[in-house]
Amino acid sequence: MVAVAARELHDGEVVFVGIGLPNLACNLARATHAPGLVLIYESGAVGAVPERLPVSIGDPALVTGSLMVCGMADVFQCFLQNGRIEVGFLGGAQVDRWGNINTTVIGDYAHPKVRLPGSGGASEIAAHAHRTLVMAKLDRRAFPEQVDFLTSPGHRCRGIPRRELGLPGAGPVKVITDKAVLEADGTGELVLMAVYPGVRLDDVRAGVGWPLRVRTTLLEVAPPGARELQLLREVLDPQRLYLKG
């Protein structure tokens, strides 16, 4: 999943990074095919080169050796809203058919079944990054037809197409799960693009709450190479803070 996300990043791109799996993916890409990635964290570190796995978005390892530190007002106004961020990573408890994400509540807002942490910077990343990549575990409850609460806009929000909302970025182009990769089709609906080796189409369909369409040519995801696995397990997350295997 991390290796698959890393491959989506091109050398030299400016990436808005969150903690956890996205951070691992970015640092894996930096250590392999994209040494020129510019990593920006919402806490204000620009061009970070963390020498350890950051344990929080405010980790001092993001600052030491970085190219620039700026205040959060500059991060959101001068980098993100200004259109300087090429790729943003998002995750969430719910991802729906149109790539909308919910990180706010499961159930009703006033009387939630589960209260989640909230938007953080996700709402504006979803609006402004040139494109976003979503990482989430495939699970029927996590992939409903419609999110309970729309925290971060996808391609169609409560019936209104993204373009009509004036959102500058292209939205979630891919959703990378632990079983398959979904991509947005021309209408903005998430469709199945590729499956991991050994995963059956029915497994994927069972994890999605809407009639999942499949791209004309379904691809198979290449498994991570030995070098990717070694970097992830021995260098990037030796304590297995975020990796399971």
Binding site: I19, V55, D59, A73, R115, P117, G120, S123
Partner: protein
């Protein structure tokens, strides 16, 4: 929240960074703990509120929230029409706290405060606030401040009080002084999940300690474990 001090939370993200949920917060909102009123924004929205407060403007303009449910959940997220392009943009109201508490590496006795590493919204919050309390790792002579004025983030003229409290940011960190106590954040997951454990922790580390020194005395080996290594930057020439 668990101690019953908080009536209302104005926020953009409520989690345990890098670890998981804030359980006392979840209990309150999910209806199994003391009630808690919410006023919810995104990070950019909260930052913008502090910017408006620091500029003494009643609102701030941003491109945000289109298509989301946040303006429905919070009617204080509104819109304004641009007087040049006629487009609609989101607004948030100014936030002017009664008191802002800032943790910094050093300040002089007048409150001129220097911070390096991450800056957050500390400048904006300080200027927005009616009163500012600065907690520092080191009290320094004004000459230290004046030797490098570009490092000053908060001027003394907005500061009401300076508290000298080394290790005052624990369990968080102070860049150049000590690292984050990550073991504490991880342990907090189990403590905060269980209301009894949380009550016992509050008893031992908050109610029963007379001061910060008493708190630190309970955390044996802390300074050895977390003290920052030395990696000093070069100076720059202020001569002319």
């Amino acid at each position: 929240i668990a101690a019953g001090c908080a009536r209302k939370l104005v926020f953009s993200w409520a989690g345990n960074p890098g670890v998981g949920s804030l359980h006392a917060f979840r209990r309150a909102v999910e209806g199994t703990g003391p009630p808690l009123e919410l006023e919810e924004y995104s990070h950019f929205g909260m930052v913008a509120r502090f910017q408006a407060g620091a500029a003494r403007l009643p609102f701030w303009t941003l491109r945000d929230y289109a298509g989301t449910d946040l303006p429905t959940a919070n009617p204080l997220i509104r819109t304004v029409t641009c007087p040049y392009t006629a487009e609609q943009l989101a607004t948030v109201p100014a936030l002017n706290p009664d008191v802002t508490i800032v943790h910094a590496q050093r300040a002089d006795r007048d409150g001129n405060t220097q911070i390096w590493g991450l800056l957050g919204v500390q400048k904006e919050a300080a200027f927005a606030s009616a009163r500012v309390i600065v907690v520092v790792e080191e009290l320094v002579d004004t000459a230290v401040i004046r030797a490098d004025p570009n490092r000053t983030l908060i001027p003394g003229l907005v500061v009401s009080a300076v508290v000298v409290e080394p290790w005052g940011a624990h369990p968080s960190y102070a860049h150049g002084y000590y690292d984050r106590d990550n073991a504490f954040y991880v342990a907090w997951e189990a403590i905060s999940r269980d209301e009894k454990k949380l009550a016992a922790w509050l008893e031992q580390y908050v109610y029963d300690v007379p001061d910060r020194a008493g708190y630190l005395a309970l955390l044996a080996g802390l300074t050895d474990r977390l003290k920052a290594r030395t990696q000093v930057s070069a100076g720059v020439n202020y001569g002319f």
